[in-house]
């Protein structure tokens, strides 16, 4: 991300629509080309690490039966499953199957990995989508409110509380909200997607969604508010805004036309960069609230050494994070014409 400052006099500072469009397309292509080797390296590293670790894939496959299966049977199974092969051969076979859409079998859920992802993925999307939307809306409101008077009471209150919330880990936030709101005041259900035995109707799910989504949004909020406040402030002090005010342009127009376009650029980048944080937060929140999502199943896969699911989720997460940061950069380039497309 480079901001090209001070275009030499005489040249048009903003390239035409067509050139910008092509630049953005080139950036997408370059990022996609960067993603392929990264995914290969990540999955290779995962297989190499697994081969060096004390983790026995056969123990993962057999689970509790591992201790009762005879040595001869173990040997036979190892030959059949190919677990005795070198790790790069295993990787090649895994990658070959992954290309055809076969990601293996998840032991923890006793389902093919693709089924697990298809069943649990939408719940994670729902939770993190709602949380992200709430966090962005709240951050925009608070950030704009705080930026109206820099150093004022609202500004200081928002900054201090954001700093405080920032230092509370998401799992403590989750537990505290459960302890106070669900157990103490019985306002919301403690965990789960629905009441036991109930159908996942809209009413059930939305009642169970409130607490986890609020916690996830709250854990994202501080970064968003603080960065928005900072960029709003930098934009409000810029020469362009000073000039606009001096020319007597109404404050609302200055805000809409001069401050927001410049300040929202860095904000979209921060939203994109916080995506890994969103995923990590979702993993913790889903785990605490027993939300049947994909992020929480990462923790389950790790705890139960479900290697097929772990590998698929690792690669999928990496891909998602790359896509998120690309999306944020595209949005930034579209909002702010000064931003270069990767140089």
């Amino acid at each position: 991300m480079t901001i090209t400052t001070a275009a030499p006099a005489g040249t048009p500072p903003v390239p035409g629509r067509g050139r910008r469009g092509r630049g953005i397309a080139r950036m997408c292509l370059r990022r996609a080309l960067f993603a392929v080797p990264l995914l290969v390296v990540v999955s290779l590293a995962l297989f190499a690490l697994a081969a060096r670790s004390p983790f026995d894939p056969l123990a993962g496959y057999l689970g509790d039966r591992y201790t009762t299966v005879s040595t001869a049977d173990r040997q036979r199974l190892a030959d059949e499953l190919g677990t005795g092969q070198s790790w790069w051969r295993q990787w090649a076979s895994w990658a070959g199957h992954a290309m055809t859409g076969d990601l293996g079998y998840s032991r923890a859920y006793a389902q093919p990995v693709t089924t697990v992802m298809a069943e649990r993925g939408p719940w994670t999307l729902l939770l993190s989508g709602v949380a992200l939307a709430c966090a962005v809306l709240a951050a925009a409101t608070l950030g704009l409110w705080a930026a109206r008077r820099a150093g004022g009471l609202v500004d200081r209150a928002v900054t201090v509380s954001a700093t405080l919330v920032q230092s509370v880990p998401p799992f403590v936030l989750s537990l505290a909200s459960v302890s106070v709101l669900a157990v103490g005041f019985r306002l919301f259900p403690v965990a789960g997607l629905t009441d036991p035995g109930a159908d996942p109707s809209l009413r059930q799910v939305s009642r169970h969604l409130v607490l986890p989504a609020a916690v996830l949004a709250l854990s994202l909020l501080p970064w968003l508010v603080l960065s928005l406040r900072q960029s709003l402030r930098a934009a409000a002090e810029s020469d362009a805004v000073l000039g606009a005010r001096a020319r007597g342009i109404p404050e609302s127009v200055v805000l809409r036309k001069h401050i927001l376009p410049v300040a929202l650029g860095p904000f979209t980048t921060v939203v994109g960069l916080r995506l890994p944080e969103l995923l990590v937060g979702a993993a913790v929140v889903e785990e605490v609230f027993s939300w049947p999502g994909l992020a929480g199943s990462l923790v389950t896969a790790a705890r139960e050494l479900d290697f097929a699911l772990l590998a698929a989720l690792t690669v999928a997460t990496t891909l998602l994070v790359l896509a998120g940061s690309l999306l944020a950069d595209v949005a930034h380039a579209l909002i702010d014409p000064r931003v270069g497309r990767d140089g």
Partner: protein, 279 residues
């Protein structure tokens, strides 16, 4: 942030005072209590805070005032090792990249980008899952994901120092490449590295406690704050709020104080940016 110089030094003093109190609590309480914080007493299980047990007791009757201190000690120790390891790694990579420049530099920075693209906790979870119950794996999982910021900063510092007159002079006087690196370039990045250690500490505390909380971190006999909070997860459902409140408070106060000290230290070491600089 435009904070005045006296305000900054007050922040630093406050943060250091809080940190000293936290450290004294973590070090002295387990030593003075003289009891093993792992011993259970089921007759005194699940007691709310009282003069006898300031922080209450947990589900197996262990005093939480002592247990929190012991957990804090473990968390701080692990976090310090992680932060130092990550900083040393980042410093080595960053200085090498900055000193050699050219193709090596480009390659190293691509690797840094790649590592940055991975969610840190995910990498941590994967590493710890493959080496269950290993303290070294917990430390490695944190150090291996947090060195990249340090590498970036160290590289930038070294690249600036490389063109400075005194380094040029050393080179003209016949100093070899490695000698210039060790005698001039590493010290140039050292101040920032110190700040990096302090700023990495809260991250490391967070990481370790989150991993332990998820049941993937330290073995249960080495209770860290994360382990205590994992116990609290079941206990808060039956209304034992103190099992959550006090370890969480210790965690938050410690990370806030360390982060405050780190930020104040960074402001002191790095010269203030020119006013109204865009980004």
């Amino acid at each position: 942030m435009a904070e005045s110089a006296p305000g900054r030094s007050r922040t630093l003093r406050c943060a250091i005072a809080v940190l000293a109190a936290v450290a004294l609590y973590a070090l002295l309480v387990p030593a003075l209590a003289g009891t093993d914080p792992r011993l259970t007493d089921f007759a005194a299980a699940d007691l709310p805070p009282s003069p006898a047990h300031w922080f209450g007791t947990d589900f197996s009757g262990r005093d939480l005032f002592e247990r929190t201190a012991a957990g804090l000690r473990v968390s701080l120790l692990i976090a310090t090792i992680c932060a130092v390891a990550a900083t040393v790694l980042g410093l080595a990579v960053g200085v090498t990249a900055g000193a050699l420049g050219g193709r090596v530099d480009g390659l190293v920075m691509r690797v840094v980008d790649g590592v940055n693209a991975l969610p840190h906790l995910l990498v941590g979870i994967v590493i710890v899952a493959l080496y269950p119950g290993s303290v070294v794996a917990v430390i490695a999982s944190i150090a291996l994901t947090h060195w990249t910021q340090v590498a970036r900063i160290a590289r930038a510092e070294v690249r600036t120092a490389r063109t400075a007159a005194y380094v040029e002079a050393a080179r003209l006087a016949g100093a070899s490449g490695p000698r210039v690196t060790l005698a001039h370039l590493v010290p140039a990045a050292a101040g920032q590295a110190l700040v990096a250690v302090v700023l990495l500490l809260p991250h490391a505390i967070w990481h370790e406690s989150t991993l332990s909380f998820l049941g993937l971190g330290l073995p249960p006999d080495r209770a860290s704050l994360g382990t205590l909070l994992q116990d609290a997860r079941a206990a808060v459902l039956t209304g034992s709020w103190w099992t959550l409140a006090f370890p969480a408070l210790a965690l938050v106060v410690t990370t806030l104080a360390v982060a405050g000290a780190g930020a104040a230290l960074r402001d002191r070491i790095t010269p203030p940016l020119p006013q109204r600089a865009v980004r």
